[in-house]
């Protein structure tokens, strides 16, 4: 399995897309952190990159990679190797390359210019979101047979998590504004990894506002030790569940 992941990794590195992605992240975050005179504003822009660009790139890159190496996967399946192992090593290869791109591209500038609570929260969220969306992308690409559909499905998922979900939440919160919604908002935030990551960063970035009326609830819940465990646990679930579903599908699939 290690050997197979290594080949996947070499294959990805040879295509140079990951290299370009790393350089893009590095230049963007470095210039943001250098140009803004207060680092909190730069962190705000980086937050947008982490919450929007990172999931999108992870989804699209993984899906394209899966379809491009479809023949390789077929070849491997003919070898005496379990399909679970094949998919897991593909996942390991892709996620290691994306993670290293993220940690080099954003991690180094953040550690250089803004090594504080917010910075570490940002790195944690970014890493977790990369893994979550790689795993979701595997599920999407295993589910769809041809490339166009797979990418379409992945994009739709991104749209859902990044945009539509929040719109729906807004709608729900307004429709049921007469009811106590504290518990519901906690639940809703757990159902979207992007929201969960955002709230995790916000706890460090906007502590003052979050101490207001309902925000105090988040602060008490997510800010405590058990809240951090909760966030990590839910993120792990978001990584494991789609991957598990993808493996199940892949095992039964007629290649």
């Amino acid at each position: 399995m290690m050997k197979l992941s290594k080949y996947v990794l070499y294959d990805i590195l040879r295509s140079k897309i990951i290299l370009a992605y790393t350089i893009f992240l590095f230049i963007v975050s470095l210039s943001m952190l250098q140009m803004e005179d207060n680092s909190s504003k730069a962190m705000l822009s980086l937050l947008n990159i982490v919450l929007i660009v990172l999931p999108l790139v992870s989804l699209v890159f993984t899906t394209i990679h899966y379809y491009n190496s479809y023949e390789f996967i077929e070849l491997m399946s003919s070898q005496p190797m379990s399909r679970t192992r094949i998919l897991l090593s593909e996942f390991a290869g892709v996620s290691i390359s994306l993670l290293s791109a993220f940690f080099i591209g954003i991690g180094i500038p953040v550690l250089l210019y803004a090594a504080n609570d917010t910075g570490f929260a940002l790195l944690f969220t970014g890493g977790a979101l990369t893994l979550v969306f790689t795993s979701i992308a595997f599920f999407a690409s295993v589910s769809a047979r041809d490339k166009a559909r797979g990418i379409g499905f992945a994009l739709l998922l991104w749209f859902y998590f990044a945009l539509i979900y929040d719109g729906l939440v807004l709608l729900i919160l307004f429709s049921f504004s007469d009811y106590p919604l504290e518990k519901l908002t906690l639940l809703l935030s757990a159902l979207n990894p992007i929201d969960l990551g955002r709230i995790f960063i916000m706890l460090k970035m906007d502590v003052s506002a979050l101490m207001g009326y309902t925000g105090a609830l988040y602060k008490d819940f997510f800010g405590s030790g058990s809240g951090i465990l909760f966030t990590t646990g839910i993120m792990l679930l978001w990584i494991i569940l789609p991957l598990w579903a993808a493996i199940r599908k892949f095992n039964k699939k007629d290649l």
């Binding site: 919450l51 906007d206 003052s208 979050l210 309902t214 105090a216």
Partner: protein
């Protein structure tokens, strides 16, 4: 001028044609009560080292009570320790501990009633319900005292420095913590409150009502349960104060309720949930303040009118401004807003397009606080941008027409 006057009073009080009476374990007189009984107007009573548990002591003569080597007056959790009335009394350098608590009377470590020319200086008060309680008094000075309360509940705790119906007072350089309200004023006028530190009180760091013509200078109010609340007063001046880390669902840097004709200048608001909350206030000049990293920098209810905000610096606040209606009768000009995205073609340092400090999302949060969970999400940013392009729901007239391009030097 006021402080000069009081200093004059002190010097007369302590060094006139005076006898000195020494009280202490090694002296002839062991009891403070007896020492005070023997003294006449203008005398000085020197209180030596030791712990004195003598119940409630009343001073109604113009004497100067000085602690030597830190004597301790202990109220045994039962008594009000000192009660002062009359004029020209000085209390200096004494430790007051364990004053009594009663739900019927406002027991205090030092109570001053119907007095004038009192000086309370360099004392340390701990474990009192009310520490210094002043009623119906004038021309007095409370300076450099250290007051620490017990942090009990709001009901069973009293105020650090409590003034009721006073005028021409000077409250200076005290440090107060762990009480209900740090400094409380009601019906107080022509007084100055300066250089005090009020921290970690259960309710307000500073609380005043019906107190016109007072000045609050260079005080620090930090980490109080509900920040600072000032109500029903006019001609208030607040300059150079620090309002910091007042966090909580109803905590404010300053809550201004029915305050009129006042000045709020050169203050620093740092990391408060709401830096300034205004309700029913008019004609307040808010200028040259720094608002940094607050949840909401300013919340102006639409019941406020004719206030002007100018030459303030706003940095890193989660929300710059929130309001609850579409009407806006206040003026904003020449402030620096870090969220301003306009340009300055003629390079005069003033932005060419107005800045709208109220975002769509801050209106949404005001209506439905649960939506705070969506803060900084992409959807919310889209809504904000759409609203900025075509304002429909945010108050159109609420804008800074001449925003500064660079932070002001304050």
């Amino acid at each position: 001028m006021k402080s000069l006057f009081t200093i004059l009073l002190i010097s007369i009080g302590c060094h006139g044609l005076a006898n000195t009476i020494r009280v202490g374990d090694l002296e002839q007189i062991h009891s403070l009560r007896q020492g005070i009984k023997l003294s006449k107007d203008g005398d000085t009573v020197l209180l030596g080292k030791g712990v004195y548990k003598e119940g409630n002591i009343i001073i109604d003569k113009a004497i100067c009570l000085l602690g030597v080597n830190g004597p301790v007056l202990d109220g045994d959790y039962k008594y009000e320790i000192l009660t002062l009335t009359g004029k020209n009394i000085v209390i200096r350098g004494i430790y007051f501990v364990n004053a009594g608590y009663s739900s019927m009377n406002d027991y205090a470590a030092i109570k001053i009633i119907d007095a004038t020319g009192i000086t309370i200086e360099n004392n340390t008060i701990s474990n009192a319900s009310f520490a210094i309680h002043i009623a119906n008094s004038t021309h007095s000075l409370v300076r450099s005292n250290t007051i620490t309360g017990t942090n009990r509940s709001e009901h069973s705790s009293g105020n650090g420095i409590h003034l009721w119906k006073c005028s021409n007072m000077l409250i200076e350089n005290n440090s107060i913590g762990g009480h209900r309200d740090g400094i409380y004023l009601e019906f107080v006028s022509q007084s100055t409150i300066k250089k005090n530190r009020s921290e970690k009180n259960i309710r307000y760091g500073l609380h005043f009502m019906f107190s016109p013509d007072n000045a609050y200078l260079n005080n620090t109010f930090r980490n109080n349960g509900a920040g600072v609340a000032v109500m029903y007063s006019k001609k208030v001046t607040m300059t150079g104060n620090h309002f910091e880390q007042n966090w909580g669902p109803s905590a404010y840097g300053i809550l201004l309720k029915d305050i009129t004709d006042s000045h709020i200048q050169h203050n620093t608001f740092f990391k408060n949930t709401v830096a300034i909350h205004m309700e029913g206030s008019s004609r307040i000049e808010i200028q040259k303040n720094i608002f940094k990293e607050n949840g909401w920098a300013v919340k102006v209810q639409s019941s406020c009118d004719d206030n002007s905000f100018h030459h303030n610096n706003f940095y890193g606040n989660s929300f710059d401004l929130a309001t609850n209606g579409t009407m806006m009768l206040n003026r904003f000009y020449n402030n620096y807003w870090d969220k301003y995205e306009g340009y300055d073609i003629n390079r005069d340092g003033i932005g060419d397009v107005p800045y709208h400090p109220v975002s769509m999302y801050s209106m949404i949060v005001e209506q439905n606080p649960y939506t705070l969970m969506l803060f900084r999400s992409f959807t919310v940013q889209l809504i904000d941008k759409a609203e900025k392009a075509i304002p429909g729901l945010t108050p159109e007239k609420l804008m800074d027409e001449k925003p500064m391009m660079k932070p002001l030097k304050l």
